[in-house]
């Protein structure tokens, strides 16, 4: 059978199986097993556990649970609230200042957490109730946190960047740096939209009120210090010659656990267990998808589908930007249904050769891909951040959250367009710090 036709059949079968409600990782294993039996013979099943184990046999994967622990341990303390309150005391005069504070807090928290749901939870637990109390519409409160939380995977450290780095063998240190400026750009766009919408709603005066004395403003600053210590510590370890990026994650995890225990008095075993339980749950979920996606990509490769698609696209005579547009649409659709890690692992091996042949920079593409995945995190039916918001504020309907986050999705699309126009936004910082690309 022609590998391209086969590829189409695999795609349809995968969609059918995944939509049946089976968990993503197991669904990928089922599809892989089915096609391997038919086209490679039943004996190929023997290889599945071996390949699954092999995909996990990679030191860089360590950083996934580590960066998740960083977020989860700090999220379980008062730290998120402190951060958020500090920003709020300094930004009260600004109309819509509370939303801006929350977005800023999300961005800062994202610099410590590799995962988006963790970022969303840490800031949202305090931010959403507070915004609603002060008269912000539910949609704005929920939408801004859902969207702000997605920064967790764009602003370094980032679990998805690690996965991309592993799948494509690009430098993780470089990928992290590439996310910094686009992350700031996105925060800027989010804030600009929030200010504009508050101003336009005519509530500016009401939503900007509240006053703090300068004493109150300065008094809260020391409480932001642990954050700065962690962020600087991790940056120093990573770029200062102490450890490789994957190892740095462990330093960060240890620092966060210790700070949570010592400064925020997270002594109680059950509190510590909650942190570990949440981290284990999220990490195992992600790592199992990584492992299963490894088996899936073995199947695609073994059936020569990956190679044929790359070849086929190579023969198409299309404008590279049309190609990039098509890839983005594909990623967006995949992101609606699948968690970011699964999309990256299944798409990267197929897309990377296409991207490089078309003359795009793989580091730059990682950023575009990540922003696409951020959109997926706040879009149904599988949007991890939506579940988090639902856990924090069950009475806000999904429809309200979605309408609230729609403008932020528009900001993300705008950011992708800006990145296409000015690729330097992603590539400039890594090139300055680490020298021109490897």
């Amino acid at each position: 059978m022609d590998p391209l036709v086969l590829g189409g059949i695999v795609a349809i079968a995968t969609i059918l199986v995944l939509f049946s409600g089976v968990s993503v990782a197991i669904g990928l294993l089922i599809v892989s097993a089915g096609f391997l039996i038919i086209f490679d013979g039943p004996r190929s099943l023997e290889l599945m556990p071996e390949i699954l184990f092999g995909k996990l046999d990679n030191f860089a994967l360590l950083s996934i649970p580590m960066f998740i622990i960083m977020g989860a341990s700090i999220a379980s303390t008062r730290a998120g609230a402190d951060l958020y309150e500090a920003l709020e005391r300094w930004l009260t005069r600004v109309p819509g200042g509370l939303v801006v504070s929350n977005l800023g807090a999300c961005a800062l928290f994202a610099a410590m957490s590799g995962s988006s749901p963790a970022t969303c939870a840490a800031i949202g637990k305090m931010g959403i109730p507070e915004m609603r109390k002060r008269g912000y519409p539910d949609g704005v409160a929920a939408g801004s946190i859902a969207a702000g939380g997605t920064l967790g995977i764009l602003i370094p450290p980032s679990v998805t960047m690690i996965v991309y780095g592993i799948a494509t063998e690009t430098s993780i240190g470089r990928l992290f740096l590439a996310g910094v400026i686009p992350g700031l750009l996105l925060v800027g766009l989010f804030m600009a939209w929030s200010l504009y919408s508050t101003w336009k709603s005519g509530d500016a005066a009401r939503l900007g009120s509240g006053s703090y004395t300068w004493a109150e403003r300065f008094e809260i600053l020391p409480r932001v210090l642990p954050f700065l210590a962690i962020i600087l510590g991790v940056l120093y370890a990573m770029y200062g010659g102490i450890a490789t990026p994957s190892e740095t994650a462990a330093v960060g995890a240890l620092m966060c656990l210790l700070i949570a225990m010592i400064i925020y008095k997270l002594w109680h075993p059950s509190a510590i267990w909650n942190v570990l339980r949440d981290s284990t749950k999220e990490s195992v979920m992600i790592l199992f998808i990584i492992a299963a996606a490894g088996v899936f990509s073995y199947m695609l490769s073994s059936l020569f589908i990956t190679q044929s698609i790359a070849e086929w696209i190579g023969t198409l005579d299309v404008n590279r930007w049309v190609l990039m547009g098509a890839i983005n649409v594909f990623l967006l659709i995949a992101g609606f249904f699948l968690p970011p890690v699964a999309v990256i692992l299944m798409a990267a091996p197929i897309l990377l050769p296409i991207i490089t042949t078309a003359g795009f920079d793989p580091i730059w593409f990682a950023v575009v891909l990540t922003i696409n995945m951020e959109i997926g995190l706040i879009s149904p039916p599988v949007g991890l951040n939506l579940y988090v918001i639902n856990g924090i504020a069950p009475d806000i309907s999904l429809k309200t959250i979605l309408t609230g986050s729609l403008p932020f999705v528009a900001c993300m699309v705008l950011a992708i367009i800006l990145l296409c126009l000015f690729p330097g936004l992603a590539t400039w910082l890594p090139n300055v710090i680490m020298g021109v690309a490897v």
Partner: protein
């Protein structure tokens, strides 16, 4: 009949070309034999090719045999410091009783060799040149291969283990100060951007790695006579090419480093002897202790002029 061949290299790599020659020649022989090459680790990860090969789940592979040193400790002799002096010596080793003994071990795992071949490598230093054992003392070093780790540790280096893809960043940030691997890896990972000195393989070289094209023995025996003959003839052609190109690799890598402004150092005959003496006390010793018939194998290898 379709045979599947897996390897870890890009399609520009010499080891891919070796596989490609075999595939092309066999196809030209028109004996109903088709070799499908899965390059760039698109099917199996580099270190996970030997197991499926030995279990008949994969037909052919090109890999550094020492990757399978955990399955057959004797294979560690194929990446032993100072055992091979230069490419011609390597070629003589490939046709010696030593290789026959190794092929007997492979047969235990249902594996056979189609194309023999050795590739050489060298050292890089972030701040200084590495030619003799004293040079690595106190340096954080990444070595390619277990025996090299043992020898370098014996020289007083601190061993840091990491994937070869991490070497670039680790040298850049200063986590590593020295590394040793194959000439082609140094070039493909662009290590020349981060080091001040390169000691390539020259008239003598310490680092030689046996990287044959292997086949599952049962799969070979399952072919008809015409197919077997075609495969063996193709392999002989590929082997001649492999030896010629292997010699060119070292000079080519030295050229790339020199063009990048990296200082080139040379290992003298005395340096080589100093390393070898050290290796006798460290890696050779450990090997003989670990492998039951290790001494015999080592003697066989050392007997090759």
């Amino acid at each position: 009949t379709e045979l599947r061949l897996s390897h870890q290299w890009s399609n520009k790599d010499i080891r891919h070309q070796v596989a490609q020659i075999v595939a092309d020649e066999v196809a030209a022989a028109d004996v109903d034999l088709d070799i499908k090459i899965f390059g760039s680790k698109s099917l199996f990860k580099p270190r996970e090719q030997y197991k499926p090969l030995s279990r008949g789940q994969l037909d052919m592979t090109v890999l550094p045999l020492s990757y399978a040193g955990g399955q057959q400790p004797a294979y560690n002799l194929t990446l032993m410091p100072g055992l091979v002096k230069n490419h011609d010596h390597a070629a003589r080793l490939s046709n010696s009783p030593f290789m026959e003994a190794l092929e007997a071990k492979m047969a235990e795992d249902d594996v056979m060799v189609l194309v023999h071949g050795y590739l050489a490598g060298g050292f890089v230093g972030k701040d200084k040149c590495i030619t003799k054992p004293e040079d690595v003392k106190g340096l954080q070093t990444r070595a390619a291969g277990k025996s090299f780790e043992q020898m370098l540790a014996g020289a007083g280096a601190s061993i840091a283990s990491m994937a070869s893809s991490e070497i670039y960043n680790a040298i850049q940030t200063g986590v590593l100060q020295a590394a040793n691997t194959s000439s082609s890896s140094f070039v493909s990972y662009r290590i020349y951007e981060q080091v001040s000195c390169y000691t390539p393989a020259g008239d003598v070289a310490l680092w030689f790695m046996y990287q044959p094209l292997l086949m599952n023995k049962s799969a070979f025996e399952g072919l008809n006579e015409a197919q077997q003959t075609a495969l063996l003839e193709a392999s002989a052609k590929a082997e001649a090419y492999y030896l010629e190109e292997a010699k060119k690799q070292d000079a080519a890598s030295a050229k790339v480093f020199a063009e990048a402004g990296v200082e080139l150092a040379e290992m003298s005959a005395e340096d080589f002897e100093a390393w070898r003496t050290l290796a006798m006390d460290t890696s050779y010793k450990a090997f003989v202790e670990e492998v039951k018939d290790g001494q015999e194998l080592l003697d066989l290898a050392l007997a090759v002029e």
